[in-house]
């Protein structure tokens, strides 16, 4: 295939990917915003007479063990899952970048101490850390957010530290110092715009993992508690019913999880293409 | 009227054109260069960035970027018809090349003695037990002090000037008839620069080797070369004996370039820049690529590239309205 034709098809594929990513993201955001208002049934109200019904016209995704409509619950859970994911990633991004930037700029002891802290965090698997946080802060959604944030922090810290440390010696940074910029302003106004792209791309990908983290934690009973609707906890409930044949209980929340993660992954790719220095 | 050169030419090029990219409508980077060099001649190819001087020199050395598309009516280097027979015979054998950043051109994990030995073996200039003394002789030739001890030195242990000398030794190891030096002293200290160039000149004379010095520094060209070829935006604009070029530049670009050289100016006011910039290569590029920056341009300059005019002493130029 001639060179130009190959390039064009690659660009088209990227464009299609971006369109799909944006469309899906919009769908999720709309679902999060409007879920509670458009859900056909009350996601929390039990209806024992309707329990364990397969998908039908009246219940598109079927019902669970308490007779609650799964479609409604999946819709409403969108808001909770997205909030957990965004909150966790936002905390990880800001605190991680701040720590890393400080370590990268200051060097010496601050760099070493922060490095040890990051290494320590990385030594803990998510679930162990989450249980520890839950033990300390109580078993609530905040604990899930905090635990997820802590676990995702190291990437931002390392990326920021390495980028800031390198840019610190750049001539444009010295030029800003010559003009009287203080170190804090240099890092924020001069360096950050140049190191933002990988951080932003990672945030997007991170959102997918954060949702999975949150779902995993509620699967094992941390954070979200019944009767709240959350994809992870719904999969957990559904897992109990796999062998009794009520497949719809875990498939639909599971699919929602999967599509959400895919969406953020695609968004990350699209963002990477957008921020590609060659295109700017 | 010019008589054909008395000696057979070492290099004879007609219509050298080099393009990049697949757009045939785009003007070529090097635009129809004609060049003759005689054995033993020391020529400087002078130009600013974008002049095409490096591309032309790399063509002579047979190391043109594979992505470049070359075409020419004639391309004979050291008796080899490159268009017919290809580059293999040329590289390293008839033509030696010295680059700008010598330390980058040397293998950092091989001692300089071994690198020289490799070259001797590859060209069959020496073999077996004759190699070691040949290496020492080569290092002595380029004035490296204490050569017997230095053969085990690694490039990282040597200064920039020393590496350049080693590069020269490697270039000379194949006994070439032409030496191409592409900005060999740019980035080196002035004192090192003068030593290296003096060495280059001396070696070229001793071996009766032709040499082409590519440089952006007109003063350097004048100090070391007999003949200076001035290139601008891929075209040769003037080709004259060094002293004649400075005494009486015929092409407006050459005159402006001379006037821009600090060494020639008495005061800052005496310095002059050249208006405009090297032109982009597209549909608007004029036939003489200096036309849009030239104070003497006439409509003909934009539509037809002036043919070569040669005056006394072989002072040649391409200009419809020479100075």
């Amino acid at each position: 295939m001639p060179e130009t034709a190959v390039k064009r098809s690659a660009v088209t594929a990227a464009k299609i990917r971006t369109v799909i990513a944006v469309a899906l993201l919009t769908a999720f955001v709309v679902a999060a915003a409007l879920g509670p208002y458009v859900a056909p049934y009350d996601p929390l109200a039990p209806a024992p007479l309707e329990a364990l019904k397969a998908p039908s016209l009246s219940h598109a995704f079927g019902t669970d063990a308490y007779g609650r409509d799964i479609l409604s619950r999946v819709l409403v859970a969108t808001r909770l899952d997205l909030i957990i994911a965004f909150a966790a990633v936002l905390i990880a991004l800001t605190i991680g970048t701040a720590l890393g930037a400080f370590a990268g700029w200051a060097g010496g002891w601050p760099d070493r101490i922060i490095g040890r802290i990051i290494d320590t965090i990385m030594a803990f698997p998510l679930f162990v850390l989450a249980v520890g946080v839950a033990a300390g802060l109580g078993n609530s959604i905040s604990s899930v957010i905090v635990a997820t944030a802590i676990v995702n922090l190291p990437f931002y810290a390392r990326q920021a530290r390495s980028d800031v440390s390198r840019q610190r010696k750049a001539a444009y940074v010295e030029a800003a110092a010559l003009a009287g910029f203080s170190p804090v302003l240099i890092v924020l106004l001069q360096i950050l715009p140049n190191i933002a792209p990988p951080l932003m791309v990672q945030s997007s990908l991170n959102l997918g993992w954060a949702i999975l983290n949150a779902a995993g934690l509620s699967f094992i009973g941390l954070g979200v508690r019944a009767p709240q609707a959350e994809w992870g906890i719904m999969v957990s409930d559904g897992a109990a019913n796999i062998f009794s044949g009520e497949w719809w209980m875990f498939i639909f929340p599971g699919a929602a999880l999967m599509i959400a993660i895919l969406t953020f992954s695609l968004c990350g790719d699209a963002l990477r293409d957008l921020l590609d220095p060659k295109r700017r | 009227m010019t008589a054909p050169p008395a000696d057979p030419t070492l290099i004879s090029i007609r219509g050298l054109t080099i393009r990049f990219g697949s757009d045939a409508a785009r003007p070529p980077t090097v635009d129809g260069v004609d060049l003759d060099i005689r054995p033993g001649e020391f020529v400087a190819l002078v130009g600013e960035s974008g002049s095409g001087k490096s591309l032309t020199a790399h063509t002579l050395a047979g190391i043109l970027d594979p992505a470049a598309k070359l075409s020419a009516e004639r391309l004979e280097v050291a008796g080899i018809d490159v268009l017919a027979d290809g580059w293999d015979q040329l590289r390293g054998r008839k033509v030696g090349i010295v680059f700008q950043n010598s330390r980058a051109a040397l293998n950092p994990i091989r001692s300089i003695g071994r690198q020289l030995a490799d070259v001797f073996k590859a060209h069959g200039t020496a073999s077996g037990s004759a190699i070691a003394p040949a290496v020492v002789a080569a290092l002595t030739d380029v004035r490296i002090p204490d050569p017997k001890r230095r053969i085990s030195a690694y490039p990282g242990e040597l200064s920039g000037g020393m590496c350049q000398r080693v590069m020269l030794a490697i270039a000379l190891a194949g006994n070439p008839s032409l030496l191409v030096a592409d900005e060999p002293t740019t980035g080196l200290d002035v004192t090192t620069q003068s030593a290296i160039l003096a060495l280059l000149l001396e070696r070229a004379r001793a071996r009766r080797m032709a040499a082409i010095l590519i440089t952006h520094d007109l003063e350097l060209a004048r100090a070391y070369a007999e003949r200076i070829i001035v290139m601008q935006a891929g075209q040769i604009v003037e080709d004259a004996p060094a002293a004649a070029l400075f005494a009486n530049p015929r092409h407006p670009y050459s005159a402006l370039l001379i006037a821009a050289t600090p060494a020639r100016a008495r005061s800052v006011d005496g310095l002059s820049g050249i208006p405009g910039q090297t032109p982009d290569l597209d549909a608007t590029t004029p036939a003489c690529r200096f036309a849009n920056r030239c104070g003497r341009a006439e409509p003909r300059c934009r539509t037809e590239f002036p043919p070569l005019r040669i005056e006394v002493d072989g002072h040649g130029f391409h200009c419809w309205r020479p100075l």
Binding site: A170, A171, Y172, E174, A175, A176, A177, L178, A179, G180, F181, S182, P183, L189, Q190, P193, N194, R280 | E48, S49, S159, G161, M162, D189, V190, T191, T192, Q193, S194, A195, L197, A198, H216, D217, L218, E219, L220, R222, A223, Y224, L256, L257, A259, A260, T261, P262, A263, A265, S267, V268, D269, L271, S272, G273, I274, Q277
Partner: protein
Amino acid sequence: MSSLLEVTGLRKLFPAGHGAKLHAVDDVDFDLAEGESLGVIGESGSGKSTIARLIARLADPTAGRIRFEGRDIGAIPSRKFAGDVARKSIQLVFQSAGDSLNPAYSAARNIVVGFGSIRLNSESREWAASLAGEVGLAPELLDRRPHQLSGGQQARVGIARALACEPRLLILDEPTAPLDVSVQATVLKLIDGIRRKRRLSLVFVSHDLDVVRLMCDRVMVLYLGRVAEIGPVGEVLSAPRHPYTRALIASAPGSATPAQLPGEATSPIDPAPNACLFANRCTNAVPECALRRPQLVDVGSSHRAACLRL
């Protein structure tokens, strides 16, 4: 007239492993009067760029004093100097202009950095445009990013940013080295014009004798971190007294008295404190040159050279 800048005993040492020290700047003294232009000439390893950075307070001296407008600014650590009242009065034009511009910002915003901010409101935009005019930068280039500008245009933006700080002292570290000859000529003329119009004092670091001859009133020749010769540029270049200065002049292409400088420079790591470091390459050397470090002696009107044979 008191000097704008007084440098005494300036030293800068870098660790070179195992307790050894690299003497980048080794006891340098010089003054700069207001409105004067001092050229700093030297080859690689001479310490000229280090001196530029020390005076610009981007680095801290190991020893010595830097007095600017009567105040010892060398004593203020470089990381604290950003807030000092003298900070904006001393500015530096970098060798690689492209690197000295923030790649994420337009030329206009880069110039505005010189005002201490990155905000482009109508007021700062107007100032940026007037500075662009002063440095000969076409207004339509103001919205371009550095990588979209040519070398000469980048150099102009760098100069504009330095001027935005309203400096009294402008240090230029080989500002035209990477530029084509014709572009260099234009930029040098620009710098000279700005210097005269704004009555700036210049420290012009270069490896090129001719550039210094054109741009400077006085010149200081450095060798391995020490001052070899200092004096009025015309006098130093026409009647050099230090053998190294003579060698530099002789090495320039087209020199009337061409000659090569033999040997190699001695190591700047832990150099002999009581010896002339040029002795191993000097045609004038005598045994005493290895026993005493030459001090600067007067050889003309405000012309001094450090050689035992004078």
